[in-house]
């Protein structure tokens, strides 16, 4: 935790922008995990303009072997993807995901927040035990808020860990999201005339689209 005396207002002049950039550079280099803007602001001396310093830093690393990337609310340094072949020794062997797990992950990412019943409706098959478990263990999905519909079902959403892993700044950057939405393929549309069963949720879904709204 930062000591308050480090940043007594007015006691020290605000460091010049170049210096602010250096500080952020150092903090981001030191951390393997993304660091949020709020966290950066807390660490830097009072009066620093984190957002602006981040813009400078991002430009500085454009085209380099290492990039500044945004991950959800956080920022991180990551090596350029075109140099992945150089890092063979650092590569981690990831467990091969089942087709069910991959599809479920995509459905959660594109439809979030999404309930279990909706995932099953889209895949047309019961979600097998272990699929959710596996995605949670990978820290790619987590529980969202309960849907305010009968039965108040749990929802699932993707995590910042998911964004980090797939090199996405926000869930809005999912490939093809816009086209899918325009084609109406992300609408939650029930069987016409079907009665909603208790515990199941209907189309009225607060928050379904709001996540992707600007």
């Amino acid at each position: 935790m930062n000591d308050e005396t480090d940043k007594g207002p007015g006691l020290f002049p605000v460091p010049p922008m170049g210096e602010q950039e250096r500080m952020i550079e150092a903090v981001l280099f030191a951390s393997a995990e993304p660091v949020t803007s709020a966290e950066l602001a807390k660490r830097l001396p009072e009066g620093c303009d984190v957002a602006e310093a981040l813009v400078h830093l991002r430009n500085r690393y454009a085209g380099r072997g290492v990039h500044l990337v945004r991950v959800g609310d956080g920022w991180a340094m990551r090596t350029a993807a075109d140099l992945g072949w150089l890092m063979r020794t650092e590569q981690v062997e990831t467990r091969r995901l089942s087709r069910a797990a991959i599809e479920t992950l995509a459905i959660i990412a594109y439809h979030q927040p999404v309930t279990r019943a909706e995932i099953e409706e889209i895949r047309g098959v019961t979600l097998s035990r272990g699929t959710i478990d596996q995605l949670m263990e990978l820290d790619w999905i987590r529980f969202g808020r309960r849907r305010m519909t009968p039965g108040r079902p749990l929802t699932f959403v993707v995590t910042d860990g998911f964004l980090d892993h797939f090199g996405l700044e926000t869930p809005r950057d999912l490939p093809g999201l816009k086209e899918l939405r325009e084609a109406g393929l992300l609408d939650s549309r029930g069987m016409p005339g079907a009665q909603s069963l208790p515990g199941e949720d209907e189309d009225e879904d607060p928050g379904q689209t709001e996540l992707f709204e600007d």
């Binding site: 990831t94 991959i102 995509a106 889209i122 895949r123 019961t126 949670m136 529980f143 490939p175």
Partner: protein, 261 residues
């Protein structure tokens, strides 16, 4: 029938059989429908649902002919498609309520298109540059140990798994029936095995219930169910006969005559 059509028939049948052999490879009826719909070689938006329904029903028929047991959800889908097919073929009945056959068909087409779209999205997602494979985090995060503070932490998953562990620790014990209202099959079997030798005459099943389980209620129902299941097992082993004179009449048991004990 034209020879060409017949040959086409044979080809289609062989294809169906190939599908059936592979039925375990499908992730449910929707997945199978998606595969079948590719045979039409048209954009999913222009798919003929009627034709698709027929293909699916042919598939189920073929599975039946080959005596392959399909999972229940495949049969549910078949029943629904048969219903849809008849609705699509008949002229619409203006007095009938509910969604039209076209609406139902359109929804099925939508489901197929959406599933395919999600498959493609999944493929694109997995094909992206990925952390730890194509791009990398700092290999040596720096921590300068000046002032060390220990912070304990836990994740939500750990929390709920801990809770689940607590709540289910009894259930992990295999069949430890300390639950007061459940009369386990094993116990019923053991009791019945001991008693049946005495049943030279036809005796009411209820007479075999243990004391304390005979009063009406959950306990009686559980004991009755287990004892009946046990009697079926012993009948299968040839140790007793079961008789019921009419529907809902009392079930009666008798030790099988001549059986060596």
């Amino acid at each position: 029938m034209e020879a060409g059509a017949e040959q086409g028939d044979i080809a289609a049948r062989l294809e169906d059989e190939a599908l059936i052999v592979d039925v375990d490879g499908y992730e449910g009826p929707l997945d199978l429908l998606l595969t079948l719909s590719r045979r039409q070689k048209v954009d999913l938006r222009r798919i003929s649902v009627l034709q698709l329904a027929e293909q699916y029903l042919t598939f189920v028929e073929a599975a039946r002919a080959l005596r392959i047991e399909l999972a229940a959800d495949y049969l549910v889908m078949a029943a629904w498609l048969a219903f849809l097919k008849s609705r699509l073929l008949l002229p619409p009945d203006p007095t009938e309520e509910g969604p039209s056959a076209e609406d139902l068909a359109a929804h099925l087409a939508f489901q197929l298109e959406r599933l395919e779209a999600m498959r493609e999205a999944a493929g694109r997602l997995m094909g992206r540059d990925r952390l730890g494979r194509d791009f990398f985090a700092r290999g040596a995060p720096e921590t300068q140990a000046i002032e060390k503070r220990t912070q304990h932490t836990a994740t939500l998953l750990e929390l709920i798994q801990a809770y689940a562990r607590l709540r289910t620790k009894d259930e992990f014990r295999p069949y430890a029936f300390d639950r007061t209202d459940i009369y386990p099959l094993e116990t019923a079997l053991e009791r019945l095995r001991g008693m049946i030798g005495e049943a030279v005459q036809w005796s009411d099943l209820a007479g075999f219930l243990p004391p304390g389980w005979r009063a009406a209620g959950t306990r009686r129902r559980s004991a009755l169910a287990s004892t009946f299941a046990a009697s079926l097992e012993l009948a299968k082993q040839g140790r007793l006969d079961i008789q019921q004179t009419e529907t809902f009449a009392p079930i009666r048991l008798r030790h099988r005559q001549g059986e060596v004990r």
